[in-house]
C-alpha cells in the first residue's frame, strides 16, 4: 500500500466543482483510492463520500491505494488537491 498526504488548496474547501473534478480524476485513473480525513476513510471515487468528509481549505487529507505501482498517479491526484483551482 502507498499513501500520500495533501493539503486542500481550493479556497472553498473540497466542495462542489473541485470535489467533482477530483473524483473524475480518480475514476479516470482506474485505481481504488481511499481518502481519509479526521479518522474517516472514504472511497475517493465517490463524490458523495468525498463531499461528506467536509474537508476545508488548508485541511490535510491522506490518499491511499493498494496498488504499489500507482505512485505517479497518486502524485497527480495530490497535485490536483493542492492546486485547488480545479
Amino acid at each position: 500500500m502507498i499513501t500520500r498526504t495533501a493539503t486542500i488548496g481550493a479556497p472553498n474547501g473540497l466542495h462542489a466543482r473541485p470535489a467533482a473534478l477530483f473524483v473524475d480524476a480518480v475514476e479516470e485513473s482506474g485505481l481504488d483510492v481511499t481518502i481519509s480525513f479526521r479518522g474517516e476513510t472514504a472511497d475517493a471515487g465517490s463524490l458523495l463520500e468525498v463531499l461528506t468528509l467536509g474537508a476545508e481549505h488548508g485541511d490535510e487529507v491522506e490518499l491511499a491505494t493498494e496498488d504499489d505501482g500507482a505512485g505517479e498517479a497518486l502524485d497527480r491526484l495530490v497535485e490536483l488537491l493542492v492546486r485547488g483551482d480545479a
Partner: protein, 562 residues
C-alpha cells in the same frame, strides 16, 4: 366529458389562463408493502438500474437547460450514479431492507452528514432528496415526481409549488398555476407574477383535477373552472379581450386624470429581470433586490463583480431612477459567509439592516460598488435599507451611504415602528418606500408564508392602510417622498387608495404597470382621496375592497378582477 366544476381560491397573479391540466406529481414515499430483500445482489442491480435511469433523464433535461439550472441538473445526475451511494444501498439491502427502504435510508445517512456540515453542503441535501424521490418512483413504477417536463402549453396544477419549481417554469408553456395551498405573498406567488403567469392559490378541490382536464382560471378574481362549458370559455375569453382593449392605449408616465404625477416603477430581483424591465414602459426601478448576488455562495461577491453588475443595470435604465435596496438576508435565507447562527424566529431576528450592522464589511463593499457604478454611469441611483425600526438605524445607514458619496438615501418602511414614527425616521433622509408585504405581516402579526392566514395578510386590512397613511403623513412633514414597492402597488384599485393616502410612486412587477396606469388615468387625485377615505372608514378588509370597487370607475374595477 365531465360537467363543469367551479372552484375558487385566491388570485395571486393576474391574467386569464385556459388549457389542459399538467399535474405536479406528489413525492412518493417508501413502498409500505414491499417485501424485505431476499436476493440482495439482484435487488442491488435493480436499484443501480433505477439510479442510472434517473441520471439519464436528468442529463437529458440538463441538455435543454442553460446556465445555473444546467449545472445543478448535471451535478444531481452525478450524485445519482455515485458508487458510494450504490454501496450504501447494498449495505441496507444486505441488512434485509426492501429496495425503496434501502434507497431512502442510504440517502438519509448522507443527508444527515451534509446537514451537519451546514452552509453549501446542507443545501445539497435538496439535490439528494430529488434523486431519492425520482429513484423511488422509478422502482415503484410511478411517474417522476415534481413538475413534469412540458412539451405543450398547459395549466400547472399542484398541491403546492416550491419556489425553485416555480422559478424554472417556462412562461411560454405554462398558461396558469393552480395550487391547493400557498399564500398571497409567498415567494411562489411573487415569482409567478414576475414571470407573468396567472396564478390562483388555496383552491379547495384542486387535488381532484385530473391530468389533461381543461382548466380555466382568472388570476385576478381567483375563479377556477374545471372542464368549462363553451359559454364559460367564451366568458373568460371575452374578459381577456376587454382587458386587452382597455390596456391597449396605456403608455407613458403614470398620471391621475388631472395630471398629478405618480411614477410607475418596476420591482426586480436579478440582473436579467432588470434588463428585461428596462425595455418596458416603466419609469425606472422602485425596488432592486440585491440578494441574488449573495445567495448560493461560499464567499461574498467581490467589489469588482458587484460594481460590474450594478453598472450594467444602471446603464440599462439611462436617466430613469433606480432604487437599490442593500442586502436583505437573515436566518431564513442564511449566507455561509454571514451566518449569525440559527434563530427561533428569523422574521423577527437579525435580518435586513440588522445584519448589515453586525457585518459592516458587507455593507461597505456593497456601497463602494454602488458608488463606483454611479460615477461610471451618472445614473439617478437611490439607495435604501431594508428592515429599519429606529431613528438610530436610519441615521447610521444614511451616514454610511453618504460617506460613500451617494446622494440619495432612503429606508424601507416595513415595520409598524417605522410607519408610526416616520416623521422622526425620515428626518434628514431623501425618501422612503413602503414594503406592504412585510408591513402587513408585522402589523397583523401573521406569517406571510402561512397560506392559512391569507385573510389576515390582505393589504386591504384597515390597520395596514392606517399604517400607510401614518407613514405618508410623516413623509410630508419632512419632505421625503413615500412610495410603495409591495405587491399592493400592482392592484389597480388599491393603487388608487395608496395614491389617495399620499403615496408618491408605485413599484410593482412590470407586467402590472399597464393596468395601474389605466386606473390612475381614470381618477383625479381628489377622487383617489375619497376612495382612500372610504377604505379607511371600512371595518374589515373585504368591506374596504367592496366599498372602493363600488365607487371606482368600472374599467378600473374590471382590471382589478383580471
Amino acid at each position: 366529458m365531465s360537467a363543469p366544476r367551479a372552484l375558487s381560491g385566491l388570485g395571486v397573479s393576474v391574467g386569464f389562463g385556459l388549457g389542459p391540466a399538467v399535474r405536479v406529481r406528489p413525492v412518493p414515499g417508501v413502498d409500505p408493502s414491499e417485501p424485505a430483500a431476499v436476493d440482495a445482489a439482484a435487488d442491488g442491480a435493480r436499484v443501480r438500474e433505477a439510479l442510472a435511469a434517473v441520471a439519464t433523464r436528468l442529463e437529458a433535461r440538463a441538455e435543454r437547460a442553460d446556465g445555473e439550472g444546467r449545472e445543478i441538473l448535471l451535478m444531481t445526475a452525478k450524485l445519482a450514479t455515485d458508487r458510494g451511494l450504490a454501496k450504501s444501498v447494498d449495505k441496507q439491502l444486505a441488512a434485509g431492507a426492501g429496495m425503496t427502504r434501502a434507497v431512502h435510508d442510504a440517502m438519509e445517512g448522507y443527508v444527515g452528514k451534509l446537514q451537519q456540515l451546514g452552509g453549501y453542503m446542507a443545501q445539497r441535501a435538496t439535490d439528494l432528496y430529488d434523486v431519492r424521490d425520482r429513484a423511488i418512483s422509478e422502482l415503484r413504477g410511478l411517474p417522476e415526481p415534481g413538475v413534469p417536463e412540458m412539451t405543450g402549453p398547459g395549466v400547472v396544477v399542484a398541491h403546492d409549488l416550491a419556489p425553485a419549481e416555480t422559478a424554472v417554469l417556462d412562461p411560454s408553456l405554462v398558461l396558469g398555476i393552480v395550487t391547493e395551498v400557498g399564500g398571497p405573498t409567498s415567494h411562489t406567488a411573487i415569482l409567478a407574477s414576475g414571470l407573468g403567469i396567472p396564478a390562483v392559490v388555496r383552491v379547495a378541490g384542486a387535488g381532484d383535477i385530473a391530468e389533461g382536464e381543461v382548466v380555466a382560471l382568472d388570476g385576478g378574481t381567483g375563479e377556477v373552472v374545471v372542464a368549462p362549458s363553451e359559454e364559460q370559455r367564451d366568458a373568460f375569453r371575452l374578459r381577456a379581450e376587454r382587458r386587452r382593449a382597455a390596456l391597449a392605449g396605456s403608455w407613458g408616465p403614470g398620471r391621475t386624470a388631472d395630471g398629478h404625477a405618480v411614477p410607475l416603477l418596476a420591482n426586480v430581483g436579478t440582473l436579467a429581470d432588470a434588463l428585461r424591465a428596462a425595455e418596458q414602459d416603466v419609469e425606472g426601478v422602485g425596488l432592486f433586490r440585491t440578494e441574488f448576488l449573495f445567495l448560493d455562495r461560499q464567499e461574498p461577491p467581490s467589489l469588482d463583480e458587484q460594481t460590474a453588475t450594478y453598472t450594467e443595470a444602471l446603464r440599462a435604465f439611462g436617466d430613469r431612477r433606480v432604487v437599490i435596496r442593500t442586502l436583505d438576508a437573515g436566518a431564513d435565507k442564511p449566507l455561509p459567509f454571514a451566518d449569525l447562527g440559527a434563530e427561533e424566529n428569523p422574521a423577527l431576528g437579525r435580518r435586513g439592516l440588522r445584519l448589515s450592522r453586525a457585518r459592516e464589511d458587507l455593507l461597505d463593499t456593497q456601497l463602494a460598488a454602488l458608488a463606483a457604478a454611479q460615477s461610471a454611469t451618472g445614473a439617478d441611483l437611490r439607495v435604501m435599507a431594508p428592515m429599519v425600526a429606529t431613528v438610530e438605524e436610519a441615521r447610521w445607514f444614511a451616514g454610511r451611504v453618504r460617506a460613500h458619496g451617494l446622494a440619495s438615501v432612503g429606508i424601507m418602511i416595513e415595520t409598524p415602528a417605522s410607519a408610526v414614527r416616520s416623521a422622526h425616521l425620515l428626518d434628514g433622509l431623501d425618501f422612503a418606500s413602503i414594503g406592504t408585504n412585510d408591513l402587513t405581516q408585522y402589523t397583523m402579526a401573521a406569517d406571510r408564508m402561512q397560506g392559512e392566514l391569507a385573510d389576515l395578510l390582505s393589504p386591504w386590512q384597515p390597520a395596514v392602510l392606517d399604517m400607510v397613511q401614518m407613514a405618508c403623513e410623516g413623509g410630508s412633514t419632512t419632505g421625503a417622498g413615500v412610495g410603495v414597492c409591495g405587491e399592493a402597488a400592482g392592484d389597480p384599485l388599491l393603487a388608487l387608495v395608496l395614491v389617495g393616502l399620499g403615496v408618491s410612486s408605485l413599484s410593482m412587477s412590470p407586467n402590472k404597470v399597464a393596468a395601474v396606469r389605466v386606473a390612475l388615468g381614470l381618477h383625479p387625485v381628489e377622487r383617489c382621496r375619497e376612495l382612500a377615505g372610504l377604505a379607511l372608514g371600512a371595518r374589515t378588509a373585504p368591506e374596504a375592497r367592496d366599498l372602493v370597487a363600488g365607487a371606482a370607475d368600472p374599467i378600473a374595477r374590471e382590471l382589478a378582477q383580471a
